[in-house]
Every structure is written in structure tokens, then in C-alpha cells.
């Protein structure tokens, strides 16, 4: 079950490999951030029919390195009203969970170093996917404390917004992840990838779970990392920057790093959970898992950039409406529907359709119940909106009365 690296106990070589893997994963995330910043700027420029950065290095690809270096040498100052300790800790609180989350992502098959076979995955705990939810839960602290510790109004407002947003969307994240766990029969990330192995696209969870849970998951994880169109946490027009407004120099660099590292890590996690991870056809008899993995992540990253270049920002009430009234009921219903289809049919009929729909009474009951749930919730939302509308109508009549 676990990594074959530990089969023969621990010795110096195993420790060295382990330390090496930690460093490699750290570097992957770090370098992918440097790349991602440029990737995004280039792609946004391309979508906007502009040149984009084209000065530093070949075709401007070293611009993010130059920016980063410049940022490190800037003056670091702290507001007088800041809470000194927490102000300093907050950037790291944001950075650590992102790097930790990447450690459970399976990047490919196994590799043999000095007679020790090991997985291309830093850690593979049997409760892997819970670890992901854990890191996303803890990541809230960075934003919240950064905003609070700055001792200033706008960052605090940004932090309060961010916290409400992240806590709200975590529920959707958990529910849709549960759908994956249902069809994969395991919490372990390597097992989730293994369950999707054996059919390009056809066996991937995105198809296997009827697409909707994936869509909900993608929306929720976008909101979770406050990417556009859910970036009202750092709405420049209203908050002039958001939770990291009072940060400068290295500390700001950490926030920037954490933001893009989260983007890369979450794309990797989407790949793992829904697109088969490193699964893909072999080329010339060689398994090229890491290559497939990278291609998938790059495509997802491009989609994120594309969304940023296309969609306008949501309003706060729209955000909350979407999260609580649409996504959570939707995720619940999809969980029930997928669970319904997971019930093993007792029928021995040869026909696929008969086996698919008959003789799984409990499963069908669950599916029907979830449709009923959706209908009820829809009605409830309608009633709520009706009440709000009649309030507005009252307002309108009242205003005209006074105006007379």
C-alpha cells in the first residue's frame, strides 16, 4: 500500500532519497511559480492582443525572476499599529499549506535510485485526500491573520471577505471530493489515480462522475484560492489591494509566491482527482506519466488565465448566493446520485441498461431523493427571492411616497 521505499526499513540511503524528494518537490513548486507568472502574463497579453513583457531575457521569459529579485531588495516596513509577531508569521502561514498540499500529488509511476524503488510522490498517506482538505482549511489563517495583523481598515475588510469566502466554498470542496472518493473507493491519492488508469478520458473521474461534480469542484477551488472571477478579496477598486495591502518587500513576495504556488498546486490536484493524474497512452512502449501530468496541468493553468482574461468579478452577494444556494445543494445532490449508481445491482441481466437501472432500489431511491431535494431547495430559494423582492417593492412605493 505505502511507498515501496520503506519496505526494507530505514537506512541512510532511504533518508537521503527522502530528503532529496522533499527538495525536488519544493523546487518544482518554486520554479513552476516563476514559470506561471510569466505564462499568465504572456497568455493574458496574447488574449488581449498585446506584446506582454518582452525585455528581460529571451522573449521576456526572465521577467518574473527580475521582478522577484527587485522585490527582495525593496525596503520592508511595518505599520506602527501592526501586531508585530503575527504580521511577520502570516506570509509563512500562507506559504506552508500550499507546499504541503503538493506533497500528496502523484507525479508518475516509480523510479529506482541506487536499488531503492520509490514513487514519484513525496508522501502517500492512506488518508491523502483529507490532507488536501486539511491544507486548504489551514490556508485561511494566512489571509485572515495578514489582514488583521496589519492594523489597518482595508486589509481587515479584505481578510474578513476572504475568510467568509474560503470557509463557504470549503464545504463544496469537501462534498465534491467525497464524490471522487465514492467512485475510487479510497482516500489515498495514488489509489485514486490508479482507479482512473486504463482508459484515456473514458475512465477518468471527470467522465466517471457525470461531469457536474468536477464543474462544482473547479468553481469551488477557484473561489478557495481567490482567483478571478472570485477575487473580490483583493478588489483594487474597493479595497485598494486587500489583505496584503500593508505588506512590502520580502513579505509581499511570499504572498505573491503563495498565490501562484496555490494556483499550480490546485491545478495539479484537479489533474489528480479528475483527469487521471499521470495517466495517458504510452509513447514507444515507455510510460511517460510525468509528461502527461505536465501537459494536463499546463492546459488547466491556461484555462485559469483564460477565465481571468474573460470573466468579470462577482459581487459579494452573488458570490455567497452561488456558494450556499447553488453549489452546496448541487454538490449534495450529485453526491447522492453518484452514490446511487455505486450500489451494486442484484440483477444478472445481460443488458447493460437493465443492469444499470433495475434492481438497485436503494440506489434509485437515493437518486430520486436528491432530485426531490433539489426541487425543494429551488422552491425555497424562489420563496426567499420573492420575499426579498416584495421588500424591494415596499421600498420603491415608500420612496415615491416621500418624493411626492
Amino acid at each position: 500500500m505505502g511507498d515501496p521505499l520503506f519496505n526494507n526499513g530505514l537506512n541512510l540511503a532511504v533518508w537521503l532519497i527522502l530528503i532529496g524528494k522533499v527538495l525536488v518537490v519544493f523546487l518544482i513548486v518554486l520554479l513552476s511559480v516563476l514559470f506561471m507568472v510569466m505564462y499568465e502574463r504572456k497568455a493574458v497579453a496574447w488574449l488581449g492582443v498585446r506584446y506582454g513583457p518582452n525585455r528581460a531575457g529571451p522573449n521576456g521569459w526572465l521577467q518574473s525572476l527580475a521582478d522577484g529579485t527587485k522585490l527582495l531588495f525593496k525596503e520592508a516596513f511595518m505599520p506602527r499599529a501592526a501586531d508585530k509577531v503575527i504580521y511577520r508569521i502570516a506570509p509563512y502561514l500562507m506559504l506552508v499549506p500550499v507546499f504541503l498540499a503538493f506533497s500528496i500529488v502523484p507525479l508518475g509511476g516509480t523510479i529506482t535510485i541506487a536499488h531503492h524503488t520509490t514513487r514519484l510522490q513525496l508522501a502517500d498517506p492512506p488518508w491523502g485526500i483529507l490532507f488536501l482538505l486539511m491544507t486548504s482549511g489551514v490556508a485561511v489563517y494566512g489571509v485572515m491573520l495578514a489582514g488583521w495583523a496589519s492594523g489597518s481598515k482595508y486589509p481587515l475588510l479584505g481578510a474578513v471577505r476572504a475568510t467568509a469566502q474560503m470557509v463557504s466554498y470549503e464545504a463544496v470542496l469537501g462534498l465534491t471530493t467525497a464524490t471522487v472518493v465514492l467512485v475510487s473507493h479510497s482516500l489515498q491519492t495514488s489509489a485514486i489515480v490508479a482507479a482512473q488508469h486504463g482508459g484515456f478520458l473514458y475512465k477518468w473521474n471527470v467522465i466517471h462522475t457525470l461531469f457536474f461534480p468536477f464543474a462544482l469542484f473547479a468553481i469551488a477551488i477557484t473561489a478557495e484560492m481567490t482567483r478571478p472571477p472570485f477575487d473580490l478579496v483583493e478588489a483594487e477598486e474597493e479595497l485598494s489591494g486587500g489583505y496584503n495591502l500593508e505588506y512590502s518587500s520580502v513579505d509581499f513576495a511570499w504572498f505573491y509566491l503563495a498565490e501562484y504556488a496555490a494556483l499550480v498546486t490546485n491545478s495539479a490536484i484537479i489533474t489528480t482527482l479528475w483527469f487521471g493524474g499521470p495517466d495517458g497512452p504510452r509513447i514507444a512502449g515507455h510510460s511517460i506519466g510525468p509528461v502527461w501530468f505536465t501537459i494536463k496541468v499546463l492546459i488547466i493553468l491556461y484555462i485559469y488565465v483564460w477565465i481571468r482574461a474573460t470573466l468579470p468579478r462577482l459581487r459579494y452577494d452573488q458570490l455567497m448566493d452561488l456558494g450556499w444556494k447553488r453549489l452546496i445543494p448541487g454538490a449534495l445532490a450529485m453526491l447522492m446520485i453518484v452514490a446511487g449508481f455505486q450500489v451494486v445491482p442484484t440483477s444478472t441481466s445481460k443488458s447493460r441498461i437493465v443492469r444499470g437501472f433495475l434492481d438497485r432500489e436503494w440506489g434509485l431511491a437515493a437518486i430520486a431523493a436528491s432530485f426531490l431535494l433539489i426541487a425543494f431547495l429551488w422552491r425555497a430559494i424562489d420563496v426567499g427571492h420573492g420575499a426579498a423582492a416584495s421588500d424591494d417593492a415596499y421600498d420603491a412605493t415608500f420612496t415615491t411616497e416621500v418624493d411626492k
Partner: protein, 211 residues
């Protein structure tokens, strides 16, 4: 995270597994105690809440040391990831964080009573730890920890078979609590019409009167 792996590598040497289990326990215990003292001794409510998070992480570490992986994860997801976040949220919203001390103590007898109760429970735990089989009920209901099956699997099976009724009852209770919370919080707002009636009175005083 590697505690489980280290423990499972016991075939090579139980000494190492034991040592690592002890190391994890000691680190966890240190975190729990630091956090607990921090919650009591620090002045700023936000710092106290953060210290509580350290305690929760320490407890999660101890759970992992006991091979209760699922509990550890849930401990972090639910307590550190949601409940303390809500504490902090309320603290920030109410703005109590900038007040140094809450003036004279609201209840003067609180401190001595807390001390007495703390001492009593400490003595209780020490006495109970000396008595064998003081835990009521079976130490394990889902089978041996080192038996077949994973921790999460066993937990799920016992929740959805043997303990289905308590589990469902808890779920119903939580739903009721949520509905009650919504109802109560909605009711405490001044009714929409009342507010507007007051506004209206003010406004009909005359031009320039209330504006």
C-alpha cells in the same frame, strides 16, 4: 506524517518505531501544553485563539501517533479549519481584539473556582490512571488496530452499521441546530416594516426637518 510509515517499518527494528512514536508523542504533548498555557496567559484574544490552534495541532499529532489518521485529519479540518476560524471571525467583527483588558473582572469568584476545579480534575485523572480498566466500555469496537483493513474503512463500517442510529440522530440534531440558528438570528433583527415606519415618521416632519 511519516509516523505511520515509521511504525509500519517495525519489521526492521521495533526500537526505532518505539523511539519515533515517543518522539511524536513528546512533540505533540509539548504543543498541547504550550497552546493551553498560551490560551490562558495571553492577553490578546486573537493570540489566545491562535494558541488554541497550536493545541489542536498537538492533539492531531497525538491521534496520528495512535494510528487514528482519520480523527487527526478531521481534527484539523473541523476544529482548526472551521471552528477557530469562526472564533477569530467573531473576535475581528466585534473588535474586542484591541481592548487590552476587559476592565474589572465580571465575576470575582471565577478565578478561585477555576483553580479548585482544575486541581480536582487533575487529582481525578491521576487517581484514575492508577486504577486498571477505568475506561468504561470496550477499548475498541471496530477490531484490532493492526488487524486487516484501514483506519478509515473500519471507522466507516462501524458508523454505518453498528452505530447507525446514534450517527443519524446526531445528524438530525445538527440540522435542527442549524435551522434554529437561522431562525433566531433572523428574528433578532428589527423587522423591516418597523424600521421603515420610524424612518417615515422622521421624514414626514417637513422639508429640511429630518434630512
Amino acid at each position: 506524517m511519516y509516523a505511520g510509515f515509521l511504525a509500519s517499518a517495525a519489521s526492521s527494528g521495533t526500537d526505532l518505531a518505539n523511539a519515533s512514536a515517543w518522539a511524536v508523542f513528546l512533540v505533540g504533548a509539548a504543543m498541547i501544553l504550550t497552546g493551553a498555557f498560551g490560551v490562558i496567559l495571553l492577553r490578546n484574544p486573537v493570540h489566545c485563539a491562535l494558541m488554541l490552534v497550536i493545541t489542536l495541532f498537538g492533539i492531531a499529532l497525538e491521534f496520528i501517533d495512535q494510528s487514528a489518521d482519520f480523527l487527526a485529519a478531521v481534527q484539523i479540518i473541523v476544529y482548526a479549519g472551521a471552528i477557530v476560524i469562526l472564533f477569530l471571525f467573531v473576535i475581528m467583527f466585534l473588535g474586542v481584539d484591541r481592548r487590552e483588558a476587559a476592565g474589572p473582572e465580571a465575576t470575582k469568584f471565577q478565578k478561585p473556582i477555576a483553580l479548585i476545579l482544575g486541581a480536582v480534575s487533575l487529582v481525578e485523572i491521576l487517581i484514575l490512571s492508577q486504577v486498571d480498566h477505568w475506561v468504561s466500555g470496550a477499548p475498541s469496537v471496530a477490531g484490532r488496530l493492526d488487524g486487516p483493513g484501514e483506519n478509515v474503512q473500519k471507522l466507516g463500517q462501524s458508523i454505518y452499521t453498528r452505530y447507525l442510529l446514534p450517527f443519524e440522530m446526531t445528524a438530525a440534531l445538527l440540522v435542527i441546530a442549524v435551522v434554529a440558528a437561522v431562525v433566531l438570528s433572523r428574528r433578532q433583527q428589527p423587522g423591516a416594516s418597523e424600521l421603515r415606519a420610524a424612518d417615515k415618521e422622521k421624514l414626514v416632519v417637513g422639508p429640511g426637518g429630518a434630512e
